[in-house]
């Protein structure tokens, strides 16, 4: 147990180390001659209009809600799938009901026009 997570730790350290070393080496070699034009935000060569940190209508809100619902479903399905062979028919019927309710919810959202991109 400790062995397997420990080796993942080693991998993490090597990975972080690689990024740090590479960026460090690049820092030694590269030129550093900033000009105001270079430091401006890219907007196809035009002068930048305003900041990008403004409020605007993201349409992903409902998708994020749906995602949470179905991701939790997957989280429930995984332990169910591991022990499914021992549980048998009863587990299948129960999961059918559970998934059925969720699919009905998706169908409802679909009919309500939530999934339509406008």
């Amino acid at each position: 147990m400790l062995d397997s997570y420990g080796t993942v730790g080693i991998f993490l350290v090597v990975s972080v180390g690689f990024v740090v070393v590479t960026l460090g080496i690049a820092r030694l070699f590269r030129p550093q001659r900033p000009t105001p034009q270079k430091l401006s935000t890219y907007e196809c060569g035009e002068p930048t209009v305003g900041s990008s940190w403004v409020q605007f209508n993201v349409r992903y809100y409902i998708f994020a809600l749906l995602f949470v619902i179905f991701d939790v479903e997957v989280a429930f399905l995984i332990p169910w799938a591991v022990v499914f062979k021992q549980l048998g028919l009863f587990a299948l019927v129960e999961m059918l009901i559970f998934v059925g309710i969720l699919l009905f919810g998706l169908l409802y959202a679909w009919k309500k026009g939530v999934l339509k991109w406008v």
């Binding site: 147990m1 062995d3 397997s4 997570y5 420990g6 080796t7 993942v8 080693i10 991998f11 090597v14 990975s15 972080v16 690689f18 990024v19 590479t22 960026l23 690049a26 070699f29 590269r30 030129p31 550093q32 001659r33 900033p34 270079k38 430091l39 401006s40 935000t41 890219y42 907007e43 930048t48 900041s51 990008s52 940190w53 993201v58 992903y60 998708f63 994020a64 749906l66 995602f67 179905f70 991701d71 997957v74 399905l77 995984i78 799938a81 591991v82 022990v83 499914f84 062979k85 048998g88 028919l89 299948l92 999961m95 059918l96 998934v99 699919l103 998706l106 999934l115 339509k116 991109w117």
Partner: protein, 327 residues
């Protein structure tokens, strides 16, 4: 955990890491070559025989480029986004078994960096972290293109992650285990591969994986004709390089995971296991590039409705049908 074990593991980690990075470098070469062939061009020819040294030249060029941090960015988040992109991209390869066990100094070592008993969950968790880097890069750059790219990408990745999870549930149903070594063992030789037992799950998984890695035809987050380069528009030099390597590392990881879950991992006749593993992963990479060379990019609403209205119901029904047959 004694010292020989630690040293052997360290060598293994560094070897896998080196192979992964070399693979990433030569993926760029392969991609340019293959796409060029598809479009009746030659691709890189000058650096080395058939342009084989092109990745090295590219890397040296990136090292010597000025690193521009635009004035209006959120400096801290802007700085750590490449890290947050690169590290998860490499980490999930750690649980993929790439060969049978070997005996060294009287101890048996599995040819897998970490034989985690919750391997699949680990892979799902790590690949989900990748989306943070894209949001971080997109938000912190303070550029309209980056922001739009980041937002698109987050919506796309969460939509396709569900299909991916459901496809993986099918594999768990068939194998009854979360451990990738067990899953490979259960598939055994050719006939037992899960791609033959449940092709639908494989197709769903692969489509979702292509969407997760933001590759063509699902590469809307970096659609160059509308968003310049998407979330990494403002990045330059080695920081850009990190995003670039991460993208290819993600592709290789997806190939490796798909090989493990659906194509029997390292199993195969005649050749040594590692060679078989590499052949299968390479085949996936060629397929990726082929798809990029052939398919047009989807429109964003098509992408979302495909994910939610087609893939998700198919994946759910597939899980239930598989469960019925497993019973």
């Amino acid at each position: 955990m004694d010292w020989t074990f630690l040293i052997v593991k360290l060598i293994q980690v560094i070897a896998v890491f080196a192979v992964l990075l070399t693979g990433c470098a030569y993926m760029t070469w392969l991609e340019r070559k293959l796409v060029a062939r598809i479009q009746s061009r030659l691709g890189p020819m000058n650096a080395g025989y058939q342009g084989l040294l092109q990745p090295v030249a590219d890397m040296i060029k990136l090292l010597f480029k000025e690193d521009i941090t635009p004035k209006h960015v959120d400096k801290f988040i802007y700085g750590i986004a490449p890290l947050a992109s690169f590290i998860p991209a490499t980490l999930s390869i750690a649980v993929v078994p790439f060969g049978d066990s070997i005996t060294l100094f009287g101890r048996t070592y599995d040819l897998v960096i970490s034989n985690l008993n919750v391997g699949i969950l680990y892979v799902l968790a790590i690949t989900s972290i990748g989306v943070y880097s894209i949001i971080m890069a997109g938000y912190s750059s303070n550029s309209k293109y980056s922001l739009l790219g980041g937002l698109r990408s987050s919506a796309q990745m969460i939509s396709y992650e569900i299909g991916m999870g459901l496809a993986i549930v099918v594999v768990i149903l068939l194998s009854g285990s979360l451990n990738l070594v067990d899953i490979v063992d259960k598939q055994g030789s050719f006939v037992g591969w899960y791609v033959f037992r449940n092709p639908v799950a494989f197709v769903v998984y692969f489509i979702c994986a292509v969407a997760e890695t933001n590759r063509s035809p699902f590469d809307l987050p970096e659609a160059e004709s509308e968003l310049v380069a998407g979330y990494h528009t403002e990045y330059s030099s080695m920081k850009f390089g990190m995003f670039f390597v991460a993208e290819y590392a993600n592709m290789i990881t997806v190939g490796a995971i798909a090989t493990t879950l659906f194509f029997g991992g390292w199993h195969g006749p005649f050749l040594p296991p590692i060679v078989w593993f590499l052949i299968k992963v390479a085949a996936f990479q060629v397929f990726y590039i082929w798809a990029r060379g052939t398919l047009p990019r989807l429109r964003y609403d098509q992408l979302m409705s495909f994910g939610w209205k087609v893939l998700l119901p198919i994946a759910v029904i597939n899980v239930m049908v598989t469960a019925f047959f497993v019973l």
